[in-house]
């Protein structure tokens, strides 16, 4: 197993105490990629990104190069960075913003050049107080250094970047809700079509929205070439990815790993990575890609960490967050808490999502607390089916955004995998784990 040989693309600096400062950044090759990009044509820069097969790291895994090519030609276009990071158990962007804000910023400057954008926005969740401060400091320093603002490095290219704080709402991670929020409104996802902000985005103008990690990869890609990036990983899953590992493991944390070359087993058990399940307990189940993803059992632990591999097995790599649950975990409780999250964060525009999430949460609560009935299992599946007909994967969508169809994932998984445990709650009239 080659987990220790993984190249570090986005985490090369985080070992330094002062990794967030411009001094450290410049001492470690910072802003060289931007200089190189400025010596190329914008189209050539975009071509490198396309060649890299850089899949968006925000959850949907859409190729960045393709998204960029869809940007509608218009004199006014925008670039918006999605730093809302609110998918439960996802904490990789937190690391990138706080520990290497210049790398992120350099990526944004490169993208802005490639896309002919002259105004870019960082939308950071408001709870990232330190991240907001560090990013603003990085931006101030970059302006002073000549890397941002008027006539960047004497190239004739001018760009302004604005750091914008959110104010606490998961749904604002959905890109059209994010744009509404950035326009100073409530974060209601927009009705599709238009399907992509690349056609109609911020202030009605063509807009590229990319995730923090997606952007943070760009300096490396420009310096080393798209082909070098594409040579890492396998198939569509090129390069490395940050995996946020949490739950019942000895060493929870963020790990940068080459795509596909590593398995969930490596991540969870390798001594240099997760270090195994806490207390030497048995693995009961794990969530492979954020709480919107269907769960996996121990028999799927040898799957590689690849976009298509996980999709074919019936789930998704999503936001790259893996939650490990050991043998002592109450699965009713886990499913209930995830469902309560969705019930709280549903924006309320669509009836199945708004009403369904509340119903599901209440039924799960009563099962967990001993008031459940056997019919409740069918009721849960029935309500889930009303939100996403057929309960298939990928889920069918009857709502404005994908939050709705994400709700059934954990419930459907928990009932399919641990039906007996639900029934035991009902039979004993209490949680057997309590």
């Amino acid at each position: 197993m080659a987990v220790t040989e993984t190249p570090r693309i986005v985490t090369s600096r985080i070992g330094y105490e002062d990794s967030h400062t411009i001094d450290r950044y410049l001492a470690t090759g910072g802003y060289e990629a931007l200089r190189k990009a400025l010596s190329m044509t914008p189209e050539a820069v975009a071509a490198e990104v396309d060649a890299a097969s850089l899949l968006g790291r925000g959850g949907a895994g859409f190729p960045a190069g393709r998204k960029w090519s869809m940007l509608r030609k218009d004199p006014v276009t925008y670039l918006v960075v999605n730093g809302d990071e609110s998918e439960p158990a996802t904490f990789k962007d937190h690391l990138l913003v706080e520990r290497d804000p210049h790398q992120l910023l350099e990526g944004v400057l490169i993208a802005a050049y490639a896309l002919h954008v002259s105004l870019a926005f960082f939308y950071l969740r408001g709870e990232f107080a330190l991240g907001l401060e560090r990013l603003q400091q990085a931006l101030n320093d970059a302006y002073a250094h000549g890397a941002a603002g008027h006539d960047v490095f004497g190239s004739g290219f001018s760009i302004d970047v604005v750091v914008h704080p959110g104010a606490g709402a998961y749904i604002c991670g959905e890109e059209t809700a994010l744009l509404e929020s950035l326009e100073g409104k409530r974060g209601f996802p927009r009705i599709k079509p238009p399907f992509f902000p690349a056609a109609i985005g911020l202030y009605g103008q063509p807009t590229v929205v990319n995730n923090v990690e997606t952007m943070s990869n760009l300096p490396w890609i420009v310096l080393n070439g798209g082909a070098a990036f594409a040579a890492l990983g396998q198939g569509r899953s090129a390069g490395t990815r940050l995996f946020a590992l949490s739950g019942h493991v000895r060493n929870p944390g963020t790990y940068e790993l080459e795509m596909v070359k590593t398995t969930f087993r490596d991540l969870i058990y390798a001594p240099v990575l997760g270090g195994g399940v806490r207390g030497g307990n048995e693995l009961k189940a794990f969530i492979p890609g954020g709480v919107s993803a269907p769960w996996f059992g121990p028999d799927q632990v040898d799957l590689p960490l690849g976009q298509d591999e996980v999709a074919e097995a019936g789930s998704m790599l999503g936001s790259g967050s893996i939650v490990v649950m050991d043998s002592a975990t109450c699965m009713v409780r886990a499913a209930w808490r995830i469902t309560r999250f969705f019930a709280r964060e549903s924006c309320g525009q669509c009836t199945p999502c708004r009403e369904g999430s509340g119903w599901l949460e209440r039924v799960l609560y009563r099962i967990e607390h001993g008031g459940g009935r056997e019919e409740d299992l069918d009721l849960l599946l029935d309500v889930s089916d009303n939100i996403s007909p057929g309960l298939q994967w990928p889920p069918l969508q009857t709502t404005i955004c994908v939050l709705g169809p994400s709700i059934p994932s954990s419930i459907h998984s928990a009932i399919s995998m641990f039906r007996d445990e639900f029934l035991l709650h009902v039979k004993e009239g209490a949680c057997p784990h309590a």
Binding site: V76, S86, E87, S118, E127, E133, Y203, Q205
Partner: protein
């Protein structure tokens, strides 16, 4: 009479200048108002409305959508305990229960001395240090019941004022420059957009109406996003 202090108001105007449309500064200015008052007073919302060109009701309607914007008074310290999945697996509900006992308030409540508001939070993106706690949106690391009590004592004794400013202060680093990318270009863009704006708004309304008629029943699959 301005409710926002002169320096706060001038920072608000600086913020407005950063966006092609004033309304975009609404949430950032709400944060500024909270920095001044600790929460969003009605007078502040009225002034923000005037600043960004909407009605006070729109400011309130927008602010209430967001968890971090408080239209009612909160304590000097907002203590947020995450109980979402990773923290749940690490004993967060037990920690929250302990916090409620220690502070003598339920989640959502404020201690009698007005020092601490306790809040049950959704994931705060720090899931490898559990259960995750933030004070005024500053991470203080995963907490045990014992460390939580020490944290509360430190807060009450004012021992953490350097790292944790009072509630509402979010970003202490101020932007050092205004917009620089070709000013004329920016002005031109704004003018171009003002024209296109009305047409786009009408188009969006049309699409909304059309989508409403057909029902929002598109059957596109796909994972998150």
């Amino acid at each position: 009479m301005s409710h926002l202090r002169p320096e706060v108001r001038s920072r608000a105007l600086e913020l407005i200048a950063l966006y092609p449309e004033r309304r975009s500064a609404l949430i950032p200015i709400c944060h500024l108002a909270q920095e001044q008052d600790g929460w969003l007073r009605p007078e502040a919302m009225e002034e923000i409305a005037e600043l960004v060109g909407v009605t006070p009701a729109e400011v309130r309607g927008t602010a209430t959508f967001y968890d971090m914007l408080h239209t009612e008074e909160v304590g000097t310290y907002l203590v947020s305990v995450c109980t979402n999945i990773a923290c749940l697996l690490g004993g967060a509900l037990e920690l929250l229960e302990h916090a409620e006992e220690t502070l003598g308030v339920r989640a959502g409540g404020t201690t009698e001395d007005g020092a601490i508001t306790l809040e049950e939070a959704e994931c705060l993106a720090d899931c490898d240090r559990v259960p995750c706690v933030q004070v005024n949106h500053r991470y203080v690391g995963g907490q045990t019941p014992e460390s939580f009590d020490r944290l509360v004592a430190d807060l009450r004794a004012g021992r953490l004022t350097d790292t944790v400013p009072s509630h509402g202060t979010l970003v202490r680093v101020r932007r050092s420059v205004g917009l620089q990318a070709d000013r004329q270009e920016v002005a031109r863009q704004r003018a171009a957009m003002a024209g296109a704006q009305a047409a786009r708004a009408a188009e969006r309304e049309r699409q909304k109406a059309a989508a409403g008629e057909g029902g929002a029943g598109s059957a596109s699959g796909g994972g998150q996003g």
